[in-house]
């Protein structure tokens, strides 16, 4: 398939974009990555995602697909190469979708809020919320993996992609606030999964480096501080 037929509008540091990249990498699908400036949206972004004007957007031919979870499922539905990202059993699929929705809607925003919290009082409840969520996800991992290395079983699957995409920024949050969130003592099974996920060859190509994200975080924080003076 010609590379120009498939474009991904994204930004290297955005975890939602990383989800789409993981899905494409796992299936060995070639595409053109178009780096978007989040502070200056391109015409192509606005035209292809007029409702939210957000990345990622996958443009297949002339058809745009928006929302990271929908893109990951589309990649799975449309390309038969490689193992399916979603489980083959209908109940396991429902479980994967359930936890993906929980992660995205309830858990995902918290590490960013914690990282950006200015006031100590804000940090404690956020830390507790993140930790409680990780404990739930530890249980979910045990149920979904059934003793295998990933949520998806032997291979990285849908849920691995959804949660795994948060790991790079989670490390940055840990550094910024000085708290170990993915604590091996408290969350041993999930910590083991996280190490495995981050060591995978396909993942290493996509997941942003912690140092670069930390640099970006500091730039953004300085920008915000200067703006509020």
């Amino acid at each position: 398939m010609a590379t120009s037929n498939l474009k991904l509008l994204g930004m290297w540091a955005c975890p939602y974009v990383n989800r789409a990249q993981f899905a494409l990498k796992i299936k060995s699908i070639e595409y053109e990555f178009i780096e978007e400036n989040p502070y200056n949206r391109s015409d192509i972004l606005v035209t292809s995602n007029p409702f939210y004007k957000k990345i990622p957007v996958l443009i297949h031919g002339d058809k745009p697909i928006c929302e990271s979870l929908i893109i990951v499922q589309y990649v799975d539905d449309n390309w038969a190469t490689g193992p399916s990202t979603l489980p083959s059993d209908a109940y396991d699929r429902a479980l994967a979708r359930f936890w993906a929705a929980y992660i995205s809607d309830k858990w995902y925003p918290s590490p960013k809020l914690l990282r950006e919290a200015q006031v100590e009082d804000e940090k404690t409840p956020l830390t507790e919320k993140i930790s409680a969520g990780l404990l739930l996800l530890e249980e979910a991992f045990v149920k979904c993996s059934k003793g295998k290395p990933y949520f998806g079983g032997d291979n990285i699957g849908y849920l691995d992609i959804v949660l795994g995409s948060s790991l790079a920024w989670l490390k940055v949050t840990e550094i910024v606030v000085g708290i170990k969130l993915l604590d091996q003592d408290k969350i041993p099974t999930l910590s083991g999964w996280a190490d495995r996920f981050c060591s995978d060859e396909d993942v290493k190509d996509v997941l942003p480096e912690t140092e670069k994200l930390l640099e970006l975080h500091e730039k953004i924080q300085a920008f915000v501080r200067d703006g509020s003076k």
Binding site: F51, H60, K63, I65, C66, E67, I70, I71, Q73, Y74, D77, N78, A90, Y91, R93, A94, R97, F98, A101, Y102, L136
Partner: protein
């Protein structure tokens, strides 16, 4: 072995209605269990079957719970696919992605505006009404000239959206406006859906939904 299918639900819930419609479309027999006191005293079965969110609907299939209405609808569509009943999700991957996108859009935009409209007054409410109408107009645009969002056939997005139709009367009464005036094609679509038994038997009576909204207003101290 016969399937055991139980639905934990609440009559006025648009999310529950989606599941009722999907089960009816597929001709599945099930036991309906109403959460009588959803607001103040959830049943131990609900807390056991959905400990994470403690919300209905929950489909319990042979003892195993499935939660979140759109996930349940997809589950029903995938499990009961070989019994000559309609398939709700499109088979084409792109159309499938579109159906999922719009169903998600409905829950992000329509649900939110609907929740605010009975709580707000004055300028705030006017702004919310505008949001709600804009959202419905976008959906009307997506429908185009097709009889259903699924094209010729009633499909996933039709199921996702039609459940809200039972709440339109409550939105209109609280906001003092007419949805049909702004979105006639959408109302025509809704009435077309209501001709299907799977829909008319699954949707709550709009007057009962309005009565429920009055209970909510009292509970949250909204005049």
């Amino acid at each position: 072995m016969a399937d055991e299918v139980i639905l934990l639900d609440f009559y006025c819930s648009m999310f529950g209605m989606r599941v009722r419609i999907a089960l009816a479309e597929k001709g599945i027999e099930y036991e309906y269990k109403e959460e009588e006191n959803l607001l103040d005293n959830k049943s131990s079965l609900l807390l056991e079957m959905n400990p994470v969110h403690k919300k209905i609907p929950v489909l319990i299939h042979n003892g195993k719970p499935v939660c979140e209405s759109l996930i349940i609808v997809q589950y029903i569509d995938e499990v009961w696919k070989d019994n000559n009943s309609p398939i709700l999700l499109p088979s084409d991957p792109y159309k499938r992605a579109q159906a999922r996108f719009w169903a998600d859009f409905v829950d992000k935009k329509l649900y939110d505006a609907g929740r605010r409209i009975w709580k707000e007054k004055g300028e705030e409410q006017e702004a919310t009404k505008k949001d709600l109408i804009e959202t419905l107009k976008l959906l009307e645009g997506e429908l185009g000239d097709e009889p259903y969002f699924g094209g010729d056939n009633f499909g996933f997005l039709d199921v996702a959206l039609i459940a809200y139709y039972s709440w339109f009367h409550a939105y209109e009464t609280c906001g003092n406006f007419s949805i049909e005036e702004h979105c006639p094609k959408l109302i025509a679509w809704a009435k077309r859906c209501m001709e299907k038994e799977s829909v008319s038997k699954s949707l709550a009576d709009p007057n009962k939904v309005y009565d429920f909204v009055l209970i909510l207003k009292k509970k949250y101290g909204v005049e």
